[in-house]
Symmetry: C2
Subunit: 215 residues, 2 copies
């Protein structure tokens, strides 16, 4: 990697490590989902345009493009997670002397919590989508780099589980119980479907992988 | 995160996604291990120096410092993985007309493969170390951010497994069978110990976690 890339990565890691709540797990889960998408794209890009794999060209190209879009939206979600947290902090700072002020503050905090639940829910959905696409990439992609697809599957699963930790934590604090239950039900469904897809993608990659990049 | 950090992260993701074998899974596994260490540091940094957690101060501080060192060495390993691949590519490009040249080339390729196995083996060891430290951080750290320790554990496990994919793939190509078996045995041991530590850290974090960062 280039020096600039290295220092950008290094700066992000230092920001995560620092004693502030953001960027924290919500942001990191999104970044890990983006890394999973990027590994899938790499496998597709090392397959497309090669004579030997011409028969998968038509099916693989749109999957690669979808992974590129997912990578972008996951990186955007990492930033959105930080904004959502800031909105909540801002809401807690509102005046709370009169009953009217207290009601406004409580409402603002609950609205911010809804956003702070929606963002990781979107990350979890994207991670599930990445896992689903990786199944096809692992099956059709260049076998020399299928271990990269396998790592992509492991990372999609970790990103999904990490995002759902935040969905569940934040949804549990909503005073609207009906909305809270809806989020928790969504989380359970996504976890089941996403982990199954990721584990299938991993097995497909491991079964299919011949040789490594060093041949 | 700052604009510079965002563009550095974005540039790294684009480099992974591109149709070149590096940075690939070896580099990404190291970066994910560094993210796991950074999350552990964050939990420690949100615990240290607070009156409420003064009783864990002495045990937590050296663990935090160890995670900082692991984060640095994991990020270095991401770059070293790329260099190792380049050395192998360079070796394959050596002349191979005479028997003498062929022998020199084969030897250079095998030497490069050894480095390309040592680097991910080091990443796997560091990921196991991060997982072991996260057990204590999850137990002693600020309970408001223990879900971040839980994600750290998931990422340490994924980083370990990802690095071992490369150890096994490269070790299998060594002509020195004894050395190859040594690497594979090391990989099996590391996988067992590291995954057990990571799963224990995850369970500890989940059992201990009260409340989220939004309280």
């Amino acid at each position: 990697m280039s020096g600039d890339t290295d220092s950008g990565l290094s700066a992000y890691l230092a920001e995560v490590a620092a004693g502030k709540p953001v960027p924290g797990g919500g942001s990191v889960a999104a970044v890990v989902g983006a890394l999973a998408a990027a590994l899938g794209e790499m496998v597709a890009n090392l397959t497309l345009g090669r004579e030997k794999y011409v028969n998968v060209e038509a099916s693989l190209r749109p999957l690669r493009d979808r992974l590129t879009a997912l990578r972008t939206s996951l990186l955007d979600a990492a930033a959105a997670d930080e904004s959502a947290y800031q909105s909540y902090r801002d809401a807690t700072g509102l005046p709370s002397t009169s009953d009217r002020e207290k009601a406004v503050r409580t409402d603002a905090m609950q609205q911010a919590l809804i956003t702070a639940t929606d963002v990781p829910l979107g990350v979890a959905r994207s991670a599930r989508d990445v896992a689903e696409i990786l199944q096809s990439v692992a099956r059709e992609g260049n076998p020399h780099v299928r271990s990269d697809a396998a790592l992509g599957a492991l990372l999609a699963e970790a990103a999904l589980r990490g995002a759902l930790l935040n969905v569940r934590g934040n949804a549990a604090m909503l005073t609207d119980r009906e909305l809270s239950v809806t989020y928790l039900t969504d989380a359970d469904r996504l976890e089941e479907a996403g982990r199954e897809a990721a584990q299938r993608a991993y097995r497909t990659a491991m079964d299919a992988s011949e040789e490594g990049r060093f041949r």
